[in-house]
Amino acid sequence: MSRTPLDTVEHAAATPDVELPWAELGLKKDEYERVVEILGRRPTGAELAMYSVMWSEHCSYKSSKVHLRQFGEKAPESDALLVGIGENAGVVDVGQGYAVTFKVESHNHPSYVEPYQGAATGVGGIVRDIIAMGARPVAVVDPLRFGAADHPDTKRVLPGVVAGIGGYGNCLGLPNIGGEVVFDACYQGNPLVNAGAIGVMRHEDIHLAKASGAGNKVILYGARTGGDGIGGASILASETFDDAKPSKRPAVQVGDPFQEKLLIECTLEAFREKLVVGIQDLGAAGLSCATSELASNGSGGMRVTLDDVPLRDSTLSPEEILMSESQERMCAVVEPDKVDRFLEICDKWDVIATVIGEVTDGDRLEIFWHGGKIVDVDPRTVAHDGPVYERPYARPSWQDELQADDANKLPRPETGEELKDQVLKLVGSPNQASKQWITQQYDRFVQGNTVLAQPEDSGMIRIDEASGLGVAIATDGNGRYAKLDPYAGAQLALAEAYRNVATTGAKPLAVSDCLNFGSPEDPAVMWQFAEAVRGLADGCLQLGTPVTGGNVSLYNQTGEAAIHPTPVVAVLGVIDDVARRTPAAFQEDGHLLYLLGDTREEFGGSAWSQVVHDHLGGLPPKVDLERERLLAEILISASRDGMIDSAHDLSDGGLVQAVVESALLGGKGARLVVPDGLDAFTFLFSESAGRAVVAVPRSEEVRFTDMCGARGLPATRVGVVDGDTVEVQGEFALTLTELREAHEATIPALLA
């Protein structure tokens, strides 16, 4: 074996003319020149590996940063926010000394390449973010978008993604309580696999990603480091070595949920014994990210001996070790006298743990390999001082034409028979059909605290057995609305998630988001992104729910065709006593159905326009966030005071979709009467925002309508829970059996 000399810092300084493959690693020329300027010399191969991966779009948010600042600048005053944007995940105070951390992330591209592992490691990554905050993970949710339901490739991608989420999440013992499944041809080559997780801790247990205290030890624990997910670093490796190596590296990481489960338990045990000063999970950019972020967030520097990293493949080069994205690894900073106990706990759980370095007095991150210093950088320049782009953006030329193509002018059903046919078509369409075939592959019961799970409006988890304190989470995002108007579309996603949380009786507290868009290099996409962020930031300010963190996924695009702009918004809420939660299922015959809110002729981007006319055009429903806030207050009060016994939010598919879902869940039908001032079609299919349908026991009717009247929320009596049909008086009736068949057969027929 012949070997070129190790590319140490000294060697780099002495050989300024050596050409490094910066372009192959994804750096632009000016970015590389900036690295040289920062260091005052050419980078070593290892340094180049770190800068290139940390300055990538994925890690540095270089295209989105200038816009994301609004989440901080426009953040509403909130007593609930304990940790905001910038940490592994945001943390919210939910009362009684409890804090909740939650976050949504994307794993879109890997899930298209390798659906099972892409989705599985997406769950793994978000769960490690949660434990890195000091919390026990208590639930996961999965907002998913796929191509057309009947496209052959969807049958490859969807079952793999669902099995991956289940295979990983079920093995971790985390109930899967919510999320969405949406089909649209725009996601054909770019499925969106977003994953969210919630964790619970006591206030005093919050941990942060920082390395402080000179002499403290840096411990890498969890799985051994292998060659997965190292992508471009192989190029550097081939520069350094010329012997035969395993040449094909898997681009997508492979997950081991059992190892992750052990990692969770041993981390929580170390937290309980207060052994941890700072902690960071290893996700994207692996050790490069963990060491540079821990060091730059702390008060000192850090020295790491890379030779001590336990390897799965002994032929890995230092650059590859630094870039490896092997899963199920974490990095903890521990005081010297607590190291033994920390290692003991890892041993108890059969988790490999190794001291790989220590915190130093200085402000440098120094990494050694075979005795030579291969990295000597200011960690802030790696972790925080990446490039920031002011990408050009412009309202696309087609936007006006799209908005002028008014969905309200589409031909409407004219007879009861036509209405009935379209209702059946709607509730059986892939997007509106039951997703039970998917969700029953997820464990929703484990941990024994699940109060509500999909298909309820929000997932709800009890966090205190004695008091009944609980949290709720809903995720929503309608790419069709956002395509018509990204500003309004982002606010509608926020409004729907907010409403969903309130519908189950919980008070919305905070927001996380996953912003899925096309290429930022396309000014039209950049405009969509800028508008969506502005809409979401303005909306959060108005609703008083701060954005606590989130994730941006760009380049969801095949050739010139970008996905619909798809901001997915997660809203977290709190409920004082889960016994007061409101389910979506109809409970008892004779209870009165009230429609809350205003119904207008709003069909732009609607499910009806898609299912019946395959149409997308016009304007999305009008946004009125003050109305959303009032509706939420009414829903929460009604739940707390026992005035309603079921509630369901109205969104895609309108009132008829909501009523059919509540009827099938409860096994009880409904008789509906078209209220004065509305035609049957608008009543059933309109997607006006700020609405919900609630079932009110007769004994509570006066109290409930008085409350709505006094507070100025329109409440219209539209029918009664009754029998085993859904009937619209004077128009049509459908039996629950017919509806169940239409609603539940679609997805298995397409995908099973």
Binding site: L172, D256, P257, K261, Q441, D443, R444, V446, G448, V578
Partner: protein
């Protein structure tokens, strides 16, 4: 006085905390047991809970069966101590030969999580006396490898001796939890040994003990009240 019921935690156990809670809800005292520890801490009965012990990468329950705690559990079970195996626990009991047969992957090849309808076939075991024979109950089911199989002779023996403790209710609406969810032979959901002290089943009674949580039913609670009565009256 109350009874002390142990719950073993293997690496990869998932429902250990839930099972301890169910024991507490029933009024007994839960005791956490550790897989590396042969000591059963003087418990009166043991539950092997659900999960993916050691990752179940080989065959569900195959490695857990050889852990130190199982040496004692096997000896004690043979001496008459009540042992309940739920899901992965059931798989471990078959691997340990405390119960006959074994579990294969679900016939549809997917993980399945549903509120399953069962019929109690044997209400005389240590864990089922608070049910009545023939009673139909709903218990959450969630597994990947739940298909019970055994050779014909074993099946005949189980049937003849009344050792099929629970059977999936096949007739009825799928929306009501009816149907054989995994292809188990004879629709078997759970079995008992001849003495009636060792019972294993795939569904999860510990997830059906509180009216607000999970499916909202409490059909699983009698497992834990049955054993409590038996131990307290012993």
């Amino acid at each position: 006085m109350t009874a002390r019921i142990g719950v073993v935690t293997f690496p990869g156990s998932l429902d250990d905390r839930d099972t301890r809670r169910a024991i507490r809800v029933a009024g007994a005292e839960p005791v956490a047991l550790w897989h590396k520890d042969k000591d059963l801490k003087q418990v009166d009965a043991v539950v092997l809970c659900g999960g993916f012990s050691y990752g179940d990468y080989l065959r569900a329950g195959a490695i857990a069966r050889f852990s130190p705690v199982m040496d004692t559990v096997i000896d004690q079970a043979r001496a008459g101590m009540p042992v309940l195996g739920i899901c992965n626990g059931f798989q471990i009991l078959t691997e340990a030969h405390l119960l006959p047969g074994g579990m294969l992957g679900n016939d549809h090849l997917h993980f399945i999580c549903r509120d399953q309808k069962l019929r109690v076939e044997n209400a005389d075991t240590a864990w089922t006396t608070d049910y009545t024979a023939g009673q139909e109950i709903h218990i959450p089911l969630k597994n990947m490898d739940g298909r019970y199989v055994a050779d014909r002779r074993t099946l005949d023996e189980l049937e003849a001796e009344g050792r099929v403790a629970f059977r999936y209710v096949v007739r009825g609406e799928a929306a009501d939890g009816c149907g054989n969810p995994n292809g188990s032979l004879n629709d078997i959901a759970g079995i008992t040994n001849a003495a009636g002290n060792v019972v294993g089943l795939m569904p999860h009674p510990e997830h059906a003990v509180e009216p607000l949580i999970g499916t909202g039913r409490t059909d699983g609670l009698p497992f834990f009240t049955s054993i409590l009565k038996k131990l307290v009256n012993a």
